[in-house]
Symmetry: C2
Subunit: 600 residues, 2 copies
């Protein structure tokens, strides 16, 4: 049996476009003489559809789209993901389902069991978990079909009480197929590979895992679909951050390596698995029984936040492999946001600082140099190099730019406010006015010409509230909002790896908001090397003050920083979507009350 | 047995303040010789704590606070709500729990079963549902203790498969006690009373339902705790939108009315219930068996969105009782936001229009007239009455105000942008500049003096995207963001009921943004009477285009409005918290993807 994997990028709610894309893959698979095409989770409507799932009309559209696709599933089997109505009227209205289409009919429907409801996931909001499990028979083979999170439990994930594969394996299936919509973060690939491999070894079956790819507002799906053979070997890792297609012969994936096993038929194999189960499978035994891959970490994780926990934080955050992936994720994130919103051009404010420089370079990669229009908006507090560095960057990247000083507008604000402000001293109010004048200028240009404003705030700033609402916090999409400052530097170095795109001075000068004379970030914030490590402990690892202090951080600093993070929730609450690259980004995956008093 | 109910307003994460408040109620209950004090759901930490529940340190603080309170539960029983660790390490880490404290010990711990995960609720994100149920024995009585949603299922709520009271009733309890954190919306009281009454009639037991009160960022808890006797009579409806305390004698609540029942002891009662159960209880029978209260709707609902579904939409939206409650909810919402954030003063922009007038009047009620500082910011497009009407309102309310024309700053922006805009015609870009100049002025004043800017956008505008990001959409809290325009008018009339506070001209003139010459809302939007009815169908009732058109709306208009709603998700995504008064507010309770193409 030949199985074709379609790793595709869908547009949420765009049923017509999704159907065309799916049908194209089916026709391609037919040409390559595949027996079965495997798609990803909820591919019919795109993932995550969120509260659209509460609209009856949206679900009707899903069913209509399946009917259209069904006509193409004639001689070929098609495994697609879609929401399905719960006809029992017990529990939530929907299941997160996979359908086998074949001979122009729906031949089977299976339901997802483990519904992630944490971080960016809300599946319990919409779906009822499966309460029946069975393999799908197709062309003489038994397919153990699961959906994404269903295989995120090897029987010991404390989040769940059910292990779908433990039930399915009793039917002695021939292969494990997983339809997935598993988002990227810079620890996810390690987690994924460890779990897939563990499955093939535990159940003694090949695994074909088909992930979706593409960015959906803030969540980036990275593709990287995985195919493991029966011996636990990684046969193929499909492309990351791109659509990709591949075909596999199940017979070849199922060939036993003589040296690791004498078992030759599926009945014996099932028995072996049962024996393993009875004797109590041990994860160390499982991994000791096969060679380690080069990327293999030697243990498996259920949660990305476990990865890197015991490493040196800064080294982990700025690790080469991570930064390279982050780069690709951000470029895809920008490109998909624009394409799916129907926009082509971006604007941004270039300050001569590192953050805007990196955003500008990424925007050029994502959209093309002709589609990035930059504003340089110096004030009386801007240093001379701010404009010259930003200009140099525009020249290096080939971007159109305008220099529009904010002095006149800023003075206009001060005059207008004089009857109210009187002779009160310069304060954060005046700093914010400058930042908001820039925000207004950028939005004016964006509105006039139909651009989207790219935001340039980083995660360290967002965490501590070091930014102005409606000023430098304005924008339609945050490119760096999930990167700590030290990661922004690492990314700049990566961008410059072949040639100096970002002028060296931008990388070397001390960070400053330039909203008052000689201002430096370090006047208000601790050194980013310390701050970022501290923030990672609190945000990604959710450590409390005692645990963080126990790691050697200054207690006064810890309390101050945690207080800043918590009291600035109100600012982040009004921030634009942030392209998510970490295991805990600000935004939909981190939900905190604004009106609270905890560590603040 | 005497049971004391403490309907209190907690501050999320403010363990010290919450403990002091709880202990004060316990001491009061002791003075009144109560045997037991009943508090509300998660009162230890405040509800909803959201992702703070993922912090180990936060849970530790909950346990520490219980330890402090325990010392006061000496001769009196105390039923409090708190998160509890799931020691089994199977399923999520926490339960949503109630503890019985007595003789300075934890005597019992029960867990919530039905975890609301819809609209503003995310309980499956944090909690494992209960899988064991038992009554609590206390001073010779059996208490059937449930937590909030646990009683939102009479066996036929399609959301759930379990009915905790069906299990507890088998132990023949003496009373039903419910710890609740049930938020207000203008249909909620009907739903609540219908469910409580149905319980007392179905199970033949008195019900004491203790709700929390107070506003938590966007969600308003209205109190209104309910006490029903064994005969299904509403004995007491505690205060709405205020803290309140009351004491009840269980023996009196348990007295059977001779004429409706011959059953005199609890064993017989339990048998009667069993008989009822075996013969299949029918909700019509239940309600026919007792007299209807004046407020009794004759049927029960599980969801507020079911209420009003068959009524004339406009009549329902502007119903006197609803508007009066909405008024109280908004005043509490403003007051609690300021108090809990540690602020006392507000600013807002008064345009001379109805929305800002209503916000200003509500702010004065919530914060006092001396704590509202108003800006009037006329432009060249402002009509003469805009300033005079707004001034008159300030005089009526006794607010400090400044008139600061935006002309100079606006012209400054146009000059600064001239090299980019050149001679392109006036467009939405220029309209937005004006709106953002006002936003910047308001934020400058707020920043300078430590005010919070109150936003004045209404739900009809937010739905259709008729507003400027960082301009009139700026602010820390949205007062009217969950009220359709017709509801704003109804609220203005209600505010004026005793005397003319809001000048009549503000109520009578045609709505306008005044961002270009002779602009009217009706240039861009349909009449609000039609628009609001249409929006209610789509937003509250989640009807699809076909169903809405079938109700007689113009098909072209329906498509246009639905498209506007969906394509403006990106604007609402950056909007401030909205005080929630409906069953479906924009914000945390309505989660839609930005990058989507559905009906748009």
């Amino acid at each position: 049996m030949k199985i074709f994997l379609a790793q595709q990028n869908y547009h949420i709610g765009n049923f017509e476009a999704n159907a065309i894309k799916i049908i194209k893959a089916i026709e391609q698979a037919k040409k390559e003489e595949a027996d079965l095409v495997l798609f990803s989770e909820l591919c019919i409507c795109g993932y995550p559809p969120r509260d659209f799932l509460e609209f009856e009309d949206f679900i009707n559209e899903c069913y209509k789209t399946i009917d259209i696709i069904k006509e193409h599933a004639d001689t070929i089997g098609v495994l697609i993901g879609s929401p399905a109505r719960n006809s029992l009227k017990a529990g939530k209205d929907l299941f997160n389902a996979a359908y086998l289409l074949y001979e122009k009919e729906i031949k089977a429907e299976i339901h997802k069991t483990l519904l992630p409801t944490y971080d960016v996931f809300d599946e319990n909001r919409y779906f009822e978990p499966a309460f029946e499990w069975k393999c799908i028979e197709f062309k003489g083979k038994k397919l153990a079909v699961t959906i994404c999170e269903d295989i995120w439990n090897l029987g010991d994930n404390p989040l769940y009480r059910v292990t779908p594969m433990e039930i399915l394996i009793k039917e002695q299936p021939d292969v494990m197929l997983n339809l997935s919509a598993s988002p990227y973060n810079y620890a996810a690939d390690v987690v994924r590979r460890s779990i897939m491999k563990a499955h093939t070894l535990k159940y003694g079956l090949p695994m074909l895992y088909c992930n979706t790819v593409g960015s959906q507002t803030e969540v980036v799906f990275d593709g990287g679909s995985l195919i493991y053979d029966i011996n636990g070997n990684l046969v193929k890792e499909m492309k990351y951050f791109q659509e990709d297609y591949a075909i596999f012969d199940l017979e070849i994936l199922s060939e036993q390596k003589k040296q690791t096993s004498q078992i030759t038929n599926s009945a014996d194999l099932a028995e072996a698995v049962t024996i393993n189960k009875d004797t109590g499978i041990n994860k160390d035994d499982v991994f000791l029984s096969s060679e380690k891959e080069s990327t293999w970490e030697g243990k498996y994780y259920y949660s990305a936040s476990e990865v890197g926990r015991d490493m040196d934080t800064l080294k982990y955050l700025t690790d080469d492999k991570n930064i390279q992936e982050i780069h690709d994720a951000l470029v895809l994130g920008i490109r998909d946001y624009f394409t799916k919103m129907g926009f082509t051009m971006a604007t941004l404010g270039a300050s001569g600082g590192i953050d805007s420089a990196v955003v500008q370079a990424l925007a050029v990669e994502a959209l093309g140099k002709e589609n990035v229009h930059v504003l340089l908006m110096p004030s009386e507090y801007s240093s001379s190099h701010s404009v010259s560095d930003a200009e140099k960057l525009c020249l290096n990247l080939g971007n159109r730019y305008n220099i529009i000083p904010i002095k006149d507008v800023y003075q206009g604000f001060l005059s207008t406010l004089k009857p109210i402000f009187k002779d009160l001293p310069f304060s954060v109010a005046e700093e914010n006015i400058q930042s908001r004048v820039r925000g207004n200028l950028l939005m004016a240009v964006a509105n006039k010409f139909g651009y989207i404003l790219l935001n340039t705030s980083n995660k360290s700033e967002l965490a501590t509230g070091y930014g102005t609402l409606y000023g430098d916090m304005a924008g339609g999409l945050s490119v760096l909002g999930d990167l700590y400052k030290m990661q922004v530097y690492a990314l700049a170095r990566y961008i410059n790896i072949k040639q100096e795109i970002i002028p060296r001075n931008i990388l070397e000068k001390a960070p400053s908001a330039e909203l008052r004379p000689n201002q430096k970030d370090s006047d208000s914030l601790p050194d980013y090397e310390i701050l970022d490590r501290l923030l990672f402990q609190y945000i990604e690892l959710r450590q409390g003050p005692k645990e963080i202090i126990a790691q050697g951080f200054d207690p006064t600093l810890v309390k101050r920083v945690l207080r800043l993070v918590n009291m600035n929730e109100y600012k982040r609450n009004q921030f634009c979507p942030i392209i998510r690259v970490s295991s805990k980004a600000f935004g939909v995956g981190r939900r905190l009350p604004i009106v609270a008093k905890y560590l603040s």
